[in-house]
Subunit: 259 residues, 2 copies
Amino acid sequence: MTEKRPYILVTNDDGITAKGLRILIDTAKKFGDVLVVAPDSHQSAKSHSITQAAPIRFDKVVEEPGFKEFSISGTPVDCVKLAIHELSDRKPDLILSGINHGANTSVSVLYSGTMAAAIEGGLHNINSIGFSVDNHSSEADFSPVIPYMEKIIKEVIEKDLPNGVSLNVNFPDVTKVDVKGIKTMRGANGVWGEKFVPANDPHKRKFVWITGKLTNYDEGKDDTDLYFIEKGYATVTPIKVDFNYYSFIEELSDWDFNG
Amino acid sequence: MTEKRPYILVTNDDGITAKGLRILIDTAKKFGDVLVVAPDSHQSAKSHSITQAAPIRFDKVVEEPGFKEFSISGTPVDCVKLAIHELSDRKPDLILSGINHGANTSVSVLYSGTMAAAIEGGLHNINSIGFSVDNHSSEADFSPVIPYMEKIIKEVIEKDLPNGVSLNVNFPDVTKVDVKGIKTMRGANGVWGEKFVPANDPHKRKFVWITGKLTNYDEGKDDTDLYFIEKGYATVTPIKVDFNYYSFIEELSDWDFNG
């Protein structure tokens, strides 16, 4: 750790009014100066999307010594990019995203705006952590996770993550169970299958709501996030983006279309 | 290949009116029965986002023997999910996404709606291919890519991709150069750095437009998509989603927060 107080960017995908964000901000303030750049509206399941087709509006809503807060008409990844390139006094030492209302285990990382913000931070070689709790209610009290978040944040600041790597931290439903401990685990392989529920529309147009159910391909495997969340543990998963499927490149190079 | 004509889902992220989509539909029709499920508006850079906070509207716009077309008030991934679960006669044999107006090389895969649709297809173990051309103009004529797309589609139908794998196919700017050939290559490592351009707003509110520049960490390396696109080749990259950074799990398990 340098002498200087760490400079911490806080964002989320549930929007600037979310209870989970407020707990994360209070936790961040214990570790350093804090810049909040959060979406002005719900941005769940926005994945890594950015706002290209419209200009982005931003408003400073709080400015105090060591603390600034901005509201952004964009996605979580917009927030991180705008924070890094426009709104920060200096390059953040740490990005904290969440606390998400709902777990981001297994393949949900792909859809999550909370984790996209952390991943974007990792791409810029900034220590980045996404926090999520397995409870979707906007009213849920996530304060039991504070001591666990503090333990993880403290150690990340001390040791630094490898370049390009972010952490995905998931908690069980702390409104119902006590956290038994923290386990570093891989994310389970899985897939979301959808059900579309017809919406009632007074104008008789056809609408549907998306709903889904996760199939865990690693059911019962004791080295996954889903296994330990179910048992009441928090899980930490190191995340890195690399879409290349290297082990198939050689075989595909032999297909006839090459030349 | 089975006796039955392949059933092909076509989608994109530039929206149902895009010229690139029309070329892809015409190409798909040569190979099988076609279901088009495309966004009703521009959905560039929407990544893997899904529409959770609003109901999705869908309208059938064409129905002919062996051909149906739906317009969807959602993202490319919404289109794939809705197609698979609600709008298909049977499970598609092939998903084609694009032709995107703009390249999706290197780390752009993470932001691209076109590639997200192909990746979603891969997650459902459906042969899926995203096509993109390195020209952003909505007026650009992409017809020179047709014979190359046909070669790739034909072979994918014959041989099948491994489960969970999709293909990312990028073409150079075919309005300016002849395609020299097709090369299977990994996606280059890189990162998008942003510049935010102030927007003129008659009400004097603060707006910015996001713009960006890709830094290629693999500059000069001759096994990447960016290297060969620059030289006038089309590139094919096998894509698989796995965010776990396995090589760091053991070390992270030894950090003090575990227990």
